[in-house]
Structures are given as C-alpha cells and as structure tokens.
C-alpha cells in the first residue's frame, strides 16, 4: 500500500473514525483502525464491536492495499503535523510497519494483520429513507437528555426511533425516558420511512451520529433493520447494533387530560430554579412550585443547609397548586425550549406533568413530580 493524502483531509477522516475506538481496550486489534486504499480513495474503518464507522476520503493511491494501525496514535501524529502538509502512508505488507512521512518527519508504526480486524457483518436493511441533517439533529438532541443510565433497564439506554401518528400527521418519532421523565420528539415522516420498525438506538451511537451532523443541509441516508441501524453521509457510514429489547408502551404515560396551564419564560424560569436550588447540596434537590393566579413561587427548603424562594410573574389562571420536582429535571426540560415560552400542563401534585414549547406539539416532555 502506498497513499498520498492532504493532512487536513486525513485529519477529518481519522478523527471521526478514532472517536468510536475505546481508549482502554483489552483486545489490541480493537484499538486499531483498518486502512484500505483503492482507486482514488482511502477508507478508515474503526469499531468497538457495537458501532462501526467507515470514513472515506479522496487520496492518491499509487499502490492499493490494506493494514491496521493504532487509531489514537495515528490520529495524534496527524494532528501534530503542520497544516497543509502532504502525508504519505506506506506499508510493504511484510515488515509489519506502517511508514508515515510528511516533510521531514518520519514515523513507523507497528501494524496488526488486516485479516484480524472484525468487520461488522452486513445486513439486509428493510427500511431506507433520507432525512435532513438538521432534522435528525433536532430529533436526537431534544430526546437524548432523558436516556436512562441504569444498566439493568438496558432497553431504556437509548432513543426509541419509530414511525408514529403525531399531532400533525405521520411522524418520525424519537422517544427517550429514564423512568422519571420522558421526551417525545416528532418530525414529518420522510418518504420511505413508513415501514420503519421501531428500534432503540444506543446512547453511544446517538453521540457518534451527532458528530456527523455539522452540515445542516446534508442529506443523511438512514437504513434500518431489526438488529442494526445505519446513518450515512457521502463520506461517512456509521453502522450500529440496536438495543435488543422492547421499549415500553410510552403512549400510556403521556397525560392527556392535564388542564392546569402555566406559561412562563423558559430562560427566566430556568435561572430562577437554578438560583433557589443553590441552597441545597443534595443530588436530588427538590424545588417546590406554588402556583396561584399569575404568580409562581419557587422554593427550596434544605433543613441542614438553608432555604430560598423566588417569585415569578407568569400566566396561570387555574386553581392554586403546589407541586415538587427534582431541580435538575426542571432545568433539563426548560433547556429544551429555545423559541417560545414554556407551557406546563399540570393535573395534581402526584401526577405526571407535561411541558411543551408554546403550542408546538412536535416536542413534548413529561416529568414526574417528587413527593417531599
């Protein structure tokens, strides 16, 4: 193998590939990236056995070939090379070394045989569709905070992506919950996604996919099977196993009849929650919301450290209500609101509360109260 490639092109391709490689690996080959050069392209493939990233970049291939080399080391080397340098990668296939040259720098890295590299088995994808990067980004971004980290409920450790009947017709829907709160985010259903089987996309995959979505206008090709999901841009293909489990029937827990309506400026609300909760050092800080006509009093009472309250002018015209929440949960859902006011729909102090942005039903959040 003998390839010549521009440093920044190499850098970009390498950084996406190496990011799935686990830093601490007990299986040496998994610390490596598989480099394949053919035609006028070079491909980098990295995996943690659950996610595989394949990144291609244009290159001058003077001799086709393939090898594997430590992903983090190669990435570090490329990162430290000067901007604009031409990098030459070569491997004679016998010495077990990858030679890297750029200007007057020269590196020689130990390789492992390409045959040892675990390439993810290919799969029949029964559903293929295309979605704009900005749309996919919004779906994942607004749902991911609610993903559970409790390993025993592994089926909640990801985002449930499926086709659903939304408020504005058929929707591509992402749902995540940790059992204390839930996020449900909809986008118009792209053509081809009607047959989408519901899949649970693991937390780590969500994070890796987000990194591919910097170009808002790019079209992302999504392919889904029962066991795998694939996200592809023209250069990068990310394939991931999906979580083998069934996502609970979340529709039953989204309250329909909550009729006490609070409208509040989300940023102002979040700042107030943050301020009053300063007095408590608990991980599960409880903030009490006391609602009365157009008035909201937020208070925290931590017997061993102190108390705080703050009053906010809000729109509220229903019966007075007192309800407690984990401050962190309130901050996180308020953080999802970016354009309009936050609208909370309450029922009672023991029931689920619904939150959305203005009257926009395409993203709804449910948060369970805390009883103090």
């Amino acid at each position: 193998m003998k390839v010549s490639i521009e440093r920044s092109t190499l850098m970009k391709a390498m950084s996406r590939a190496q990011s799935v490689v686990e830093r601490r690996n007990t299986i040496p080959i998994l610390a490596n990236v598989l480099i394949e050069a053919e035609g006028d392209k070079i491909a980098f493939r990295a995996t943690d056995l659950d996610i595989e990233v394949l990144d291609t970049a244009p290159a001058v291939v003077s001799q086709a070939g393939a090898t594997t080399v430590g992903a983090h080391t190669l990435h570090e080397i490329v990162r430290k090379l000067p901007e604009g340098a031409m990098v030459e990668l070569s491997d004679d296939g016998t010495a077990g070394r990858l030679e890297i040259s750029a200007g007057r720098s020269h590196f020689s890295l130990a390789t492992l045989p390409k045959e040892d590299f675990p390439v993810m088995a290919s799969s029949e994808y029964e559903c293929n569709f295309s979605v704009k990067a900005s749309v996919l980004k919004r779906l994942l971004d607004k749902a991911k905070f609610a993903i559970s980290t409790e390993e025993t409920r592994y089926y909640l450790n990801g985002i449930y992506m499926h086709a659903a009947e939304g408020a504005q017709g058929k929707a591509l829907r992402c749902v995540a919950t940790d059992g204390h709160r839930l996020a449900q985010v909809d986008a118009p259903l792209p053509a081809g996604a009607e047959t989408l089987p519901g899949v649970i996309v693991p937390r780590k995959t969500v994070g890796e996919v987000m990194k591919l979505l910097d170009d808002d206008e790019a079209a992302i090709a999504v392919s889904v099977s029962e066991t795998k999901v694939r996200f592809a841009t023209p250069e990068v293909t990310l394939t991931s196993k999906v979580i083998d489990g069934s996502f609970p029937d979340y529709t039953r827990v989204i309250p329909q009849g909550n009729n006490k309506r609070l409208e509040v400026d989300a940023a102002e609300f979040a700042r107030a929650v943050d301020r009053v909760s300063t007095v408590s050092s608990e991980r599960s800080r409880a903030v009490k919301l006391a609602l009365d006509e157009d008035r909201l009093v937020l208070s925290v009472n931590a017997p061993d450290s102190g108390a705080a309250d703050e009053e906010l002018a809000v729109a509220y015209a229903d019966e007075p209500l007192e309800i407690g929440f984990n401050a962190k949960y309130l901050l996180e859902i308020a953080g999802q609101v970016d354009r309009e006011n936050a609208v909370f729909m309450f029922n009672s102090s023991g029931d689920p509360t619904l939150m959305r942005e203005g009257n926009d039903d395409s993203a709804v959040y449910v948060v369970m109260p805390m009883r103090v």
């Binding site: 686990e22 601490r24 690996n25 007990t26 299986i27 040496p28 056995l49 659950d50 559970s148 980290t149 409790e150 025993t152 409920r153 592994y154 450790n157 919950t177 940790d178 059992g179 204390h180 709160r181 839930l182 693991p202 780590k204 196993k241 979580i243 083998d244 609970p248 979340y250 827990v253 050092s281 608990e282 991980r283 599960s284 409880a286 017997p303 061993d304 407690g324 984990n326 023991g350 689920p352 449910v366 369970m368 109260p369 805390m370 009883r371 103090v372």
Partner: protein, 610 residues
C-alpha cells in the same frame, strides 16, 4: 420403644438420695468442665481478697487443677464446713438480692469434692495452717499442714467418679483454652490482682501460659493496662474509652472502633458488677449499638463493665452465673446503645490505625519490586478477554489505570490541602481517590464513602420529614413469590416514609410507584429483593428503628457510585468535602474504613528516608 427411653412402667418407691449422689447431681450443674472448676476456685480466691492468684493445671485440667492465693484463708475449724453444701461465709441468707461477692451459694467446693479428689490447704491469719481432703464425697479429717499464707485448693482427677462426663470433655488443648479464657475474663474484672497460669502436664515447672502483673493507678489506667496485656496493644489503640452513667447505672470500659471488628464474637467481654457474663440482653444491645457501622457478619470488640446497686440486678438465675436479670432491662440496653453510638459517632473520623499499619506492611512487602514485568504476564495482560460478555452494549472491562486530575489549580481550590482529607489528585482503578494533605496522603474508597454519605443523608431526611420520593413515570412491576409478596406488602407502611411506595399488583407481583429521590434511577427489583433479605434476616428481634436503619443501609447501596465509574476532579473534591462534613463517614455501612491515611513520615519510612 428403645432401650434408652426412660422406663416408667416398673415403678420404684420414692427414696431420699444419699448426700454423695445429691452432690454429684448438683455438681453437674456447677461444674461442666475443668474451666468451670477453675472459675469457681479463682472466684473464691478473689472473694478472699487475694492480690496474687496462681493457677496450675495438667492435661487440660483433667488430672490436676491447683489454685493458690494469698487471701485471708479459712480457719482450720471451718474447713469441714467449707465442704458442706449450702455453707457459705458470704451471705447470711437474709437478702439474696444484695450480693457483692462472686460466691453466694456455698455450692462450689462440695460440688467439686463430689466429682474429683479435692484437697484444701489454708492458713487463717497467724493460726497454724491446716488441710482437709475429700474424695468422691467422703470427707477426711482436718490435719495440720505447712503454708505461709492464703489458701491452696487442689483438684485431681476431675470426673473420675462420673466417667460419663469425662467422655464429653474435649481435647486437652480445647479444655486448656477454655481455662485460659476463664482466667483472662476474671483478670479483666480485677486489674489490681496479679495472675499466672501454668501448664504442668509434663511435670516439673511446666510452661507459663499467661501472666498479668497487678496493675496500679486509677481504675481506667489499671483497666487499660490489663486490657493491653490480655487483648494486645492493638485493641487499646483502636478502642474508645467509655464512661457513662444513667439513673445509677454505670457503664465503663473500652469499645473498639468498627474498623477493628472481628469475624466472630470472640472479643466481647461483658461484666456486670465485676462478674463476667454472657448475657443475651447485653449482647443484643451491643449489636444494636454497632448496627450502623457493621454488617451482620462482623462483630464488635469490647470490654465493658456495667455497674449498679446489686439490688437492681439478679445474679442468681444461671447455674454458672453467666446470665443476669436486670430489674430495668430497657435502661441497661438504652445506656449501652446510646453511649456506644455516641462514642462511635464522635470517633467517626478516626480510621482504625490497624488499617494503615496493615497497609504500610503491605507496601513494605513489595520491596522486591518488579519494575520490568516479565513477558509471560505481559502477554496475559494484553490478551486478557473482557470480563463481561460481548453481546449487548457492554463496554470493555476497565483496566487498572490512573485518571489524573487535569491540573491541580483548576480542580483543587487553594488551601484545601490543609483540610483533613486534602486535595484530590487522581483516581485509581476507577474507584480509589488519592488525595494530598499537608502532612501526607489519603486513599479513599469512593464507592464505600459514597454509600455511607447516602445512608447518612437518608437517615437525616428520615428524621426531618421523611425521605423525598420520586414518583415513577412507569411504575415497576416486580414478580415475587407469594411469601415474599406478603412480607413486602406487610412492610409497605413502614417503607413509605423511606420514599418507597409499594402497592399490590395482580398475581404474585407488586408495583413500585415511588422510589427514594436521593437514589436517582434505581433498579427497583434488586432493591425489593435486598429489602426482603434484610427483613428476613432481622426477624422480629429488632426495634422498629433498628429495622428501618438496617433497611436504609441496604437502600443506600442502590444509590451509590458503582466501582468503575470515573470521577472528575471537582467531583472527587466534592466527595472529600462532603465526607469531612458528615459524621460517621470514616466507616462504610459494613464497618470497613472508607479511607486510610498515610502520614508523610509513613511514606518516608517506606522509602527508608527517615
């Protein structure tokens, strides 16, 4: 019917048993084994005001027991009486509730005389010394003898007249061990008396098995000296002096830190009015006092003395006087539990010195350090398979690795090194935090520490207004057996204030609606099973409060940072600060230390710099 069943069909006339037979039967209650004979004889010596007591035995006490004292002795004329049943100089019989001596029944010597060859030699004041012997219940005549002072009681061939009993004795070694145990307990009760114990099995001088010189100084110093002799300096260095009084009940002695606990109840020495006892009530109280700090398989080490007006405790309830009955058992229990809890709380931050000494020892053992790992182990290391199965989304097992705190300034505000737990510097093996203090370093078991902090918080919330509960979006359905289901539902009312709301569900299932908010996301199924275990272990023996605390401690485990989670610098420092601010955080819920400290001098010693 079998040949050994009591035969009641052939009735015999009622007969009065002769003295020898009656004494042998009574002896069965008083003298079970050589050690009980030793106990009776040493108690007699103590009652006689002895300052020195020398005990000698051969063959585990089976062939010879001899106790010599320098007490006031027995007048020659009273020697036959000493051997008569119910003859005692210690009480006049008018007030069985006011007993201030070890002996009060006048049973020990006649019992011993019934089951062995007993000789008493004694000199009373300036009188001539005299001797009397009794063999299998037959009392001989009083004869003149030679002895400078005190009394020597010699018991040979114990149980020779009752071979059945002889058969039940354990090995010589085990019986000798029991004798030494008896001596040690009595020696603790009387620090100002000197003791020696010799094994003369082979004849001649024999071997000195135990020696405690008379301690002087005030009561506490004397006791500390005696305990140091008997239990070792380790015990005293790790023990808290106890001195408390409540309504005329006085508790003194030493209680070891939970980190000095034992795997069996071998170091629990309890005394009531100077009398060694093994009383269930007291042992239960001890358990209650340490419950917060020790798991059920660890046992506290203590030497505690309860004293009160003799009228408030009945010592005449057990043939070997090992148990007592308090007039106000609640008061005795309360005094022990609250005194010890209080003392342990105050000592919360004193990690057992044995722990750090042991650590130092372990460090030193490493002097042949392998800087170069050999090839074989290198290979096994790098090709080791992940500990967890490859399916699903399990990450690879974490390797041994240091997580450095990126920069000390960024994460450790100025001056924190002066604080007791210092500034976090790194995390090892994704659990242990290394912190630097002004005068050394601290190693914290983050998992154990966090568990303790959660437990303390739960307790505090509990005391204030109940534990805050997080309502679950999707209630968790937990399948159980019928018995377990009934047991947990039975406890539901007492679990509700702990933030755990459980309701019946169809079939054998229960539904968990709310969990303690402080725990964050929890695995409800695992928690319910843990609580069930705890409930069945506790049985009905504990008070409601003890039960709740035991359950809280189980619940706390579920909210803890699991070993294997990487912590950021500020997170680690926050944990250290919280530990400093939280009482009892020096031990985890299982009595292990949550941190150990190495002083600069210790570290320097490791490198041979001092």
């Amino acid at each position: 019917m079998n040949a050994f069943d009591p035969n009641i069909s052939q009735r015999q006339p009622i007969r009065q048993l002769d003295d020898a037979a009656a004494n042998r039967i009574a002896a069965g209650e008083v003298v079970e084994r050589p050690a009980s004979a030793v106990k009776e004889l040493v108690e007699n010596a103590l009652d006689a005001g002895a300052r020195r007591i020398d005990v000698t035995y051969a063959d585990g006490g089976k062939t010879l027991i001899r106790v010599s004292d320098d007490g006031h002795g027995i007048p020659a004329g009273e020697l036959p009486l000493a051997l008569a049943r119910h003859a005692t100089s210690k009480i006049d019989g008018s007030d069985l509730l006011n007993i201030r001596s070890f002996g009060f029944r006048g049973e020990a010597l006649p019992s011993l005389g019934a089951v062995g060859r007993l000789t008493i030699t004694s000199r009373y004041g300036k009188d001539e010394a005299a001797r009397i012997a009794v063999n299998g219940g037959a009392i001989g005549a009083v004869e003149p003898a030679a002895l400078t002072r005190g009394t020597v009681v010699e018991l040979r061939d114990l149980f020779h007249a009752t071979p059945a009993r002889l058969k039940f004795l354990r090995t010589d070694r085990a019986e000798a061990q029991a004798i030494s145990d008896v001596i040690k307990r009595l020696a603790m009760a009387e620090p100002s008396v000197g003791f020696t114990l010799r094994d003369v099995s082979g004849g001649g001088e024999g071997a000195l098995k135990f020696r405690a010189d008379p301690e002087n100084g005030d009561m506490f110093d004397a006791l500390a000296g005696r305990l140091r002799t008997i239990l070792g300096a380790d015990f005293i260095d790790n023990a808290l002096p106890i001195d408390a009084e409540r309504e005329g009940l006085i508790l003194t002695g030493y209680a070891a830190l939970p980190t000095y606990s034992r795997g069996a109840a071998v170091a629990q020495f309890l005394f009531v009015n100077g009398r060694p006892v093994r009383d269930k009530l007291l042992i239960g109280a001890l358990r209650g006092a340490y419950a917060d700090f020790l798991s059920r398989d660890r046992h506290p080490a203590v030497a505690l003395f309860l004293a009160c007006d003799p009228e408030r405790v009945d010592v005449n309830v057990h043939p070997a006087k090992a148990e007592v009955r308090f007039r106000e058992p609640g008061l005795a229990r309360g005094l022990i539990v609250s005194t010890l809890k209080h003392a342990l709380a105050e000592a919360g931050h004193r990690a057992s010195t044995t722990v750090s000494t042991a650590t130092l020892g372990a460090f030193r053992a490493e002097t042949r350090g392998h800087y170069q790992m050999d090839l074989a182990s290198r290979a096994t290391l790098s090709y080791r398979q992940p500990d967890r199965p490859q399916s699903g989304f399990a990450e690879f097992a974490p390797s041994a690795r240091v997580e450095p705190v990126h920069s000390a300034e960024e994460t450790s505000p100025e001056g924190v090194e002066a604080l007791p737990l210092g500034a976090a510097r790194a995390q090892l093996h994704e659990n242990y935090i290394v912190a630097q203090t002004d005068d050394g370093m601290i190693l914290v078991d983050a998992h154990a520490a966090h568990e303790r902090l959660v437990y303390e918080k739960l307790k505090r919330q509990m005391a204030e207004n109940g534990v805050a509960a997080q309502v679950l979006l999707i209630p968790e359905i937990v399948e159980l057996g019928a018995d377990d289901r009934a047991a947990i539902l039975n406890a539901a009312d007492s679990l509700a204030p702990l933030g755990l709301t459980i309701e019946p569900f169809g079939g054998n299932a229960v539904c968990v609606r709310e969990t303690p908010a402080i725990l964050g996301e929890v695995n409800a199924t695992a928690m319910i099973h843990d609580i069930l275990d705890e409930l069945s272990d506790l049985g009905q023996t504990q008070t409601v409060k003890d039960r709740i605390e035991a359950i809280l401690s189980r619940v706390a485990c579920h909210g803890s940072v699991r070993t294997g989670r990487r912590m950021s610098g500020p997170e680690m420092n926050a944990l250290l600060r919280e530990m400093e601010a939280t009482p009892h955080s020096g031990q985890c819920n299982h009595g292990r230390p949550t941190y150990v400290k190495l002083k600069m001098t210790d570290i320097e010693r490791l490198f041979g710099r001092s």
